[in-house]
């Protein structure tokens, strides 16, 4: 009897908490609902008060405007290029380095690894002035290269992948060595396929992070054609054009790829993020 009563009371607190949580979850999604529906309204309906909670007439003209009056297609391509090349370079370089830190013996290994790890928390934005001067010296202002390489320099990938390499027994590498395989062959053909889940998590996390990166891309891509999608659509906001539906259409274009990635790769996020925290 007593136990039953206790249980019912416990459930009550729990139910109230969950009702609040669901309510806020829906409320939290409302701005996105407002974004999508506003982008489908015409320029007068979008600012009408009281508002149409659901668009009465739907139009795609704002999207056509974004792609015709602005180099939005170019911005999208730039974003894809920057995110993809950065991510591939991160995977190649950091898997090599992580393999070395995990499996090879060389002088100064621990010291260099400690330096790498110590840099993890430092945001590159605080060093934006000297970083920009370096990019200037390399002639990389307004070029995608200027956006890509500073992001490849971060050690997060090394840190994430080293855990996966550590989990592989050394005997596997030694067996390959005895069979006469070179170090690079062993790394590429034997060890890499085993850490695929780690590579997958790193790919998704890094791609999204670069896609959503803003300040550095804003600084490097100054002329209209070298902007990335995030920087480009944010510049619509400062536009004198008073049509908010058009600005919301731009924002939707930038948001949709990430929504799709999240829906298809949700598992990788929950895993990848948790790995970062667990190791920490």
């Amino acid at each position: 009897m007593i136990k039953n009563k206790n249980k019912r009371k416990r459930e009550k607190v729990d139910v109230i908490a969950n009702v609040i949580i669901v309510f806020f979850a829906i409320l939290n999604l409302f701005p996105l609902y407002w974004l999508f529906t506003s982008s489908l309204k015409n320029s007068s309906d979008v600012i009408k008060m009281p508002p149409d909670w659901f668009p009465k007439t739907m139009t795609f003209s704002n999207y056509v405007d974004v792609f015709q009056n602005q180099p939005a297609l170019k911005w999208t391509l730039n974003s894809i290029m920057v995110s993809l090349i950065t991510t591939i370079a991160v995977i190649v370089f950091s898997s090599m380095a992580a393999y070395a830190f995990s499996k090879l013996k060389f002088k100064g290994k621990n010291f260099i690894y400690i330096i790498f790890i110590s840099s993890l928390m430092i945001p590159k934005e605080v060093m934006i002035v000297p970083l920009f001067r370096i990019i200037q010296d390399f002639g990389m202002v307004n070029s995608l290269n200027g956006m890509i390489w500073p992001n490849v320099a971060t050690a997060f990938g090394v840190f994430l992948l080293k855990g996966f390499f550590d989990a592989i027994p050394d005997s596997l590498r030694e067996a390959a060595r005895i069979d006469g395989a070179g170090e690079f062959y062993t790394f590429y053909k034997i060890i890499m396929p085993i850490v695929k889940p780690g590579i997958g998590a790193l790919f998704i996390l890094n791609f999204v992070q670069v896609w959503n990166d803003y300040l550095w891309q804003l600084v490097v891509g100054q002329d209209a054609n070298s902007k990335t999608l995030m920087v480009g659509i944010a510049s619509l906001m400062q536009d004198l054009n008073p049509n908010f539906a058009y600005k919301m259409a731009g924002a939707t274009v930038a948001a949709v790829p990430m929504l799709l990635i999240f829906i298809f790769f949700q598992k990788y996020f929950t895993k990848g993020l948790a790995i970062g925290a667990e190791k920490g």
Binding site: I21, I122, I128, W211, L273
Partner: protein
């Protein structure tokens, strides 16, 4: 002789494997830090650099805008981090042991704003809060509130920025907490339940202490993320009205790329660098303990 050759070769292979990462690391991370410290000690006019010692730092601490920006940044950090940790703990503790579909719905709902990024979310909020034709001022007007221009009023601008940043980013903390709470062995809860402990007791006495490492990680990551708060300032307020929402990163950016005060901007960067370095010490210590 043969042994030495072998060691040499093994060393070389190691260096070859880390070389690409190490070179980029030195060029784009280590060198900028050293160069940033050097620049902060110079007065810079285009190509002309004059060594001035700590003059840039002295100027900063006499500049009321910098003081305001520092104060705002610290205020944002405290409020946003506290809100994030409390709310994320509340959500995760209430849902982590429910069925998987429900958990992934809630997690998704809170994480989607993180995915679509601060840029897109700031644009939406800027539209929602627009005093001329935004939804929120309209509702405020219907409710006959005294203020409808929330971003134009120095009293309301900080809470609005805190709320927008918190609402956009809390999903990250929720994902981390849920992952960590699901990992807690169920026997611990069952044992406590048998002893007649209520859910609240279990949460406060068992669950929250057990996820403490996650809490520390979330706190540090969020402090550093809020410290460099920029996008929401640029897109919602531009630091205004009258610098009342200025922050360190916004101040740095403007000095570097609008006012061409590279020495001053570098000094702000060095100060922020030192803060992040100090903040990351506990996290790094925990990491090395595990190594």
């Amino acid at each position: 002789m043969k042994f030495n050759k072998h060691v040499l070769k093994e060393n070389l292979t190691g260096y070859m494997f880390i070389a690409p990462q190490l070179i980029l690391f030195l060029v784009f991370l280590v060198y900028p830090i050293i160069e940033g410290i050097r620049l902060s000690l110079y007065r810079i006019n285009y190509t002309n650099e004059v060594f001035v010692g700590f003059e840039n730092y002295e100027k900063l601490f006499q500049n009321p805008v910098f003081i305001k920006a520092t104060f705002n940044t610290v205020f944002f950090v405290i409020c946003i981090v506290a809100l994030t940790v409390i709310f994320a703990l509340f959500v995760s503790a209430a849902i982590f042991d429910k069925n998987a579909k429900y958990v992934s719905f809630i997690r998704g709902a809170y994480y989607i704003p993180v995915m679509v990024s601060m840029v897109v979310m700031s644009m939406i909020w800027s539209f929602l809060l627009n005093p001329a034709n935004g939804l929120i001022p309209y509702i405020a007007q219907q409710m006959e509130m005294s203020t409808i221009n929330f971003l134009g009023n120095p009293k309301t601008v900080l809470p609005v920025i805190i709320f927008v940043t918190f609402a956009t980013n809390v999903g990250q903390a929720i994902i981390l907490y849920i992952a960590s709470m699901i990992g807690v062995p169920k026997e611990l809860f069952e044992a406590a339940e048998v002893d007649g402990a209520s859910r609240m007791t279990i949460i406060f006495k068992i669950l929250i202490p057990l996820v403490k490492p996650t809490t520390i990680y979330i706190i540090i990551m969020n402090i550093i993320a809020v410290l460099k708060i920029f996008v929401v300032i640029q897109l919602l307020t531009g630091g205004g009205p009258n610098n009342s929402s200025n922050t360190l990163m916004w101040f740095l950016y403007n000095n570097a790329f609008k006012f061409n005060q590279l020495g001053i901007a570098s000094a702000v960067g060095v100060i922020m660098f030192l803060i992040t370095l100090v903040l990351s010490v506990p996290q790094l210590r925990a990491m090395f303990k595990k190594e």
